[in-house]
Symmetry: C2
Subunit: 308 residues, 2 copies
């Protein structure tokens, strides 16, 4: 464990064929064909997908009423027969659920929560309120079209067989250095919408992973400026950038991060294949790791008796 | 003055033909033709536009380096010969300037600061740090294509001849009631990016005006949810909605606001012609007013000896 890990991270148990995996839709409604194709991927691993009462509900851009989505999530969080919950899709909606999740539902053993994009909100909630290690990675509908490497990597983590070190295929050491910290972060826009709320991410001593989709450079700039003014970067251990898909010229995005982080003297690495592009390699959040910017590598520190 | 006005509002002096008006570009670069046409409107009122050393500078989506834009703004704020500063354009960039404005430049007498959209950031800065009344309204480049009513209304406020009461042409009393408070707000997105920073808007006892452009309903929802979770709405006096241009179906936007504000028992009015559409009627910020939702009217309480 990193010296600065805030609490003992609660790593969920590994999955084995035959296990059930809950499918929740806490944010937006989804395409049924992609959803079914994603379920087939889960079944291919020998898992039995379990749908909630409201997984297929719809209300405009939300997958049902807040109470329906929160009800499914609460039921899954407290079901002792489940080791893992995977989101059907992102979009938007998790932020509306936070006040509806009773902290008492987090008293039980840790479960995997798998997803990205809007699911960033739930990663921070479960990490900060319950200390659970969660999994930033493909969801049911994105598994449908994911490449084989992304699928295998996700299953390798869930089944306890992942390599501890992740090499960045497109590695760029924007700011050199080595740092240790608990990995967190997710979608930059989603993260920004937690600021000033009771769920604002705690970023001191963290390795911050960030990705985004469809946000123009000036919007990325605005978010980074806000986070800088809010003091979010002051005690960061390091930053690792994933994909910024449809966000304009990478050189512009890269320079924005370098401008904000250079004065801090912390490592800034880019090129990890995670986010809204392909591959989307799953990343445990809430677990300590070492970022080596120069070697383009992130090495997780799994607890000896419990991890892959 | 409203009973809850936080400080004595500093109303800038009225303008008369012959006065100089500074033109600053604190955010994005602008179209030169529209800019020149806007200057002609100012000259038509008998004003003499004064450009900064860097007004026409450009750096990507910014109107020059931060130091250049902040330098012009600081110079104008401290120039005793100026009663008013008008922005050339919005876009994005004001947030980057705030740490570069020395509070000491606000020691002098109040000046009008005119603009909207990204200029929202400066409205809140000047209101909270200096107590100045500012003017949410057309900028140089939008004056170029503004309708006659919007132009006349802006000049009527600057020249001290405005009606105290503004009737909403498309008035909708979404939540009935009458409330008194200091008018503030501006562009919803820009406002959200002040959250958690040292410049976070103080909204207790305020009448909050909001408008936005090009943000889909789920994004408006996300911002309102964030603000609600951050407690921004808890002590509001009332809300008045301007234009939500290119933000999708108005019915959807309207319902989002009603959902968030109905539990508070405060008036929520819509239909004031201000924002990114046309007309864009100038609204003094930092000045107390009475919102009458049922009568679709906002009545300003100008200090007797100093206002229109």
């Amino acid at each position: 464990m990193a010296k600065n890990a805030p609490t003992i991270a609660k790593l969920p148990p590994t999955l084995v064929p035959g296990d059930r995996i809950a499918v929740v839709a806490p944010a937006g409604p989804f395409n049924r064909e992609k959803f079914d194709a994603g379920l087939a991927v889960l079944r291919g691993w020998g898992l039995e997908p379990v749908l909630g009462s409201h997984t297929a509900a719809r209300k405009g851009y939300l997958a049902g009423e807040d109470g329906e989505r929160a009800g499914d999530l609460r039921a899954f969080l407290t079901d002792p027969s489940l080791k893992a919950i995977i989101a059907a899709r992102g979009g938007y909606g998790c932020l509306r659920l936070l006040p509806l999740i009773d902290a008492a539902v987090l008293d039980g053993p840790a479960k995997w929560l798998v997803g990205f994009s809007d699911i960033t909100t739930l990663h921070h909630y479960l990490s900060q309120r319950a200390g659970w290690v969660t999994l930033h990675g493909p969801m049911v509908t994105t598994l449908a079209t994911a490449d084989g490497g992304s699928r295998r990597h996700l299953w390798s983590i869930l089944s306890g067989a992942a390599n501890r070190t992740l090499h960045f295929s497109l590695g760029e050491a924007l700011l050199p250095g080595v740092a240790e910290g608990v990995v967190t972060g997710g979608n930059l826009t989603t993260l920004c919408h937690l600021l000033a709320t009771p769920y604002q991410p705690k970023l001191a001593d963290r390795l911050l992973f960030l990705e985004d989709v469809g946000e123009a450079p000036y919007r990325i700039d605005r978010m980074l400026t806000q986070m800088a003014l809010a003091g979010c970067f002051e005690k960061l251990a390091g930053v690792v950038l994933g994909q910024f898909t449809g966000c304009g010229a990478w050189e512009e995005i890269r320079d924005l991060f370098r401008e904000r982080l250079a004065p801090l003297g912390i490592p800034l690495a880019a090129g990890i294949s995670a986010g809204h592009g392909s591959p989307n390699l799953a990343l445990p959040f809430g677990l300590a790791a070492t970022l080596d910017s120069d070697r383009h590598a992130l090495t997780y520190h799994y607890p000896k008796d419990n991890g892959p």
